[in-house]
Symmetry: C2
Subunit: 358 residues, 2 copies
Amino acid sequence: MPATMRYAVIMAGGSGTRLWPASRRARPKQFLALGAPESLLAATVRRVRAAAPGVMIVTAADQAAAAAVEAPGATVVAEPSARNTAAALGLAATHLVARDPDAVMGAFPADQHVGDEAAFGAVIERAFAAAERGDVIVTIGVTPTRAETGYGWLELGPPRDELGAGVAQVARFVEKPDAARATQMFAAGGYLWNGGMFFVRARRLLAELERHLPVTAAGLREVEAALASGDTVAADAAAARVYPGFPAISIDHGVMEKAHDVVAIPGSFGWSDVGSWAAVAELLARDAAGNTRQGDAVVVDGRDNLTVTDAGVIAVVGVSGVAVVRAGDAVLVLPAERAQDVRAAVDALTAAGLSRYL
Amino acid sequence: MPATMRYAVIMAGGSGTRLWPASRRARPKQFLALGAPESLLAATVRRVRAAAPGVMIVTAADQAAAAAVEAPGATVVAEPSARNTAAALGLAATHLVARDPDAVMGAFPADQHVGDEAAFGAVIERAFAAAERGDVIVTIGVTPTRAETGYGWLELGPPRDELGAGVAQVARFVEKPDAARATQMFAAGGYLWNGGMFFVRARRLLAELERHLPVTAAGLREVEAALASGDTVAADAAAARVYPGFPAISIDHGVMEKAHDVVAIPGSFGWSDVGSWAAVAELLARDAAGNTRQGDAVVVDGRDNLTVTDAGVIAVVGVSGVAVVRAGDAVLVLPAERAQDVRAAVDALTAAGLSRYL
C-alpha cells in the first residue's frame, strides 16, 4: 500500500475586523505581516509544507488571486460565498477525494502565529500520523500558558496511546469561558486551548457532514459528481448553485462538538491566534519601558504602548497602555486592555456613514 | 497733506514645532488651515486688507513662493536668513520708507486666529489712527479671559486719551508668567495679553533700532541706500551681506521693552495665538462629549479628545483628554494637558535619527 497522501488545507476565508485598521474587508488579517517579514498566510503555508506535500487554500473568490500570490504552487479553491469553516472544509475535502480517495487532510487557520516552528512541525507530524493510524479526527490542543478567555478550550479524556504517545480522547469542547472558568481550567490541568487545527481523512470528514450537516453534504455531492467527471467548470457551477443553501456554521460547532471520535495531541509551540492588537503586542520585542512597535515610532514618558504603522512615524508623549495603529487611511487609538473593542470603532464608523474606511 | 499711507507688515518667518506634525520645517504653522477653510496666513492677509491698503509679507526665502500664493497682490520680502522679528520688521520698515517716507506700519504675526473680525477691524483702525496721531509705538493688548501662562502680558500705565479713547501707556512688558503670577494679574485687572501686534511709523521704528540695535540699524542703512538708488538687486545683495551679523532677537525684547513711548489699545476679538494643539481645540466646535475634530473621526467612550487629520479617519475608543493628530506621514498622540510638550516628541525624533519627519 502506498503511503497516504497528506494535504494541508488552509482556511483563508476570514474577514475579521479585530485588527482594523490593518485588516480591512478587502484585505483580511491573513494578508498582514505582523511581527514578521511575511504575511500570516505565507508563514502558514511555509510551516505546513514540510509535513504536507499538497497545499490547498480555501478562500473567498475575491481573495483568490491575492492568496495565490502568497502561496505559490498551492491549489486555491474559491468559495462562491462565505459559509464559515464547515462548508469551506467540506468543499476542500470534496476536491481532495476527487484527487485522492484516501487523502488525509490537515486543516489550518491561515492567520495564526507560531513562535517555535520546529516544535510545531513535530506536533503536526504526529497529528497526521494519528489521523492515518485510526479512523479518528485529530485536533491540536495548545498547552495553555494563562487563563485566556479569548480562546475556546478542550477538556481531555482518557489516553488513546494506540494513536501515538500523548494522544488523548477529547471529552468535550468548551466555548470561550468567562474569567472564573478560565482560571479554574488553567489551575486544574487537563484542559488545552483549541487551536482550530484538525486532521482527518477527507472521506471521513464528508461522512461526518452527512451525519451532522446533511444539506451541506448533499450539495457537496453535486460538486463531487462534477469533479468525478473531470468537469471543473461544472463543479464550480455546482458549488455556486448549492453554496447559498449551506448553513453558515463553524467546523467546531457543526462537526467537532458532535463527532464521537475526536482526539487531541497536546502541543506547545508559541502559538497565538493574533486575535487582537494586544495579541500582536505579545509578538513584538518590548523595550525597557514595555513599549512595542512595528514601524517607526518614538514614545516619551509612556509605558506599555503598542505602536504599529505601515508608513511614516508615530509619536506618543505622556500616554501609557494604549495601542496606536496607523494603516492606510486610518488611525486607531485604544487602550490595550480594550483591544477586544475594536468592534466598537467599526460599528461607530458604520453608524457615522464612514464605512468606506472598513 | 495727503493721508498717511498705511501698510500691514505680516511676519511669516515662523518655523514653529508646537503644532508638529501638521507644522513642519518646510511648512510652518502660518500655512496651516486650522478650524477654518483658509490658511492662517491667508486669513491674516484678508483681515488686515480693509485697514491697510498695502500688504507686505516678510518671510524666509524658501517660503516666499508659498507665501505669495496665500497672499495674492501682497509684496513679499524674503529674508536672507532667520534673525527673529526685530530684523524682519527692520527690513520691512527699510523697504517701506524707500517707498513712502511717512509710511505707518502695522506689524502682524502671520499665524494667529481672530474669532470676531469686525471687532478686530475696529481695534486696528484705532491703532493705526493712534500711531498717526502721536509719534508713539502702539501695541494691541488683548483683554485676558483666563490666567494664561502661555502668553506674554502687558501692564497698563496712565491713560493717553489724546491718542484715542481707551489708549493707555504701557508700564511694562511681562514675560510668560508662572501660574501664580498669571492668576494674580488676571484677578488684579490692568493687565492685558501681548498680542504681538505693533503700529508705528516705519521711520520711527528705524530710529528705535538705531538706539537699541545699532548693528541691525547700520546694516539696514546699506539696504536703504541701495533701495534709494532704485537698485533692488543691490538691495537684496546688501541684505544678504549684512543679515548674518544681525542679532537674532525679537522685536519685543530688542525694542518694545526698551522704548519709552509705547502705548496699548485694549481689544477683545476672540484672539488666539494657536500656539498648541490645546489652543487648536479651542477653535473647534465641541460635541456633547466635549470632543473636537477636524477631518473624519469617531470617538467611542471618550471625552474631551481632539482629533485632527488631513486625510482618512481617526478612531478613538475608551480614551479621554488626548490629542490625536495625523498629518502627512506622521501621527502624534499626547494628552491635551501636555500640549506644550510636542517639543519632547520633536526632540525624541531627532535623537532617534528620525528628523526626516520634522
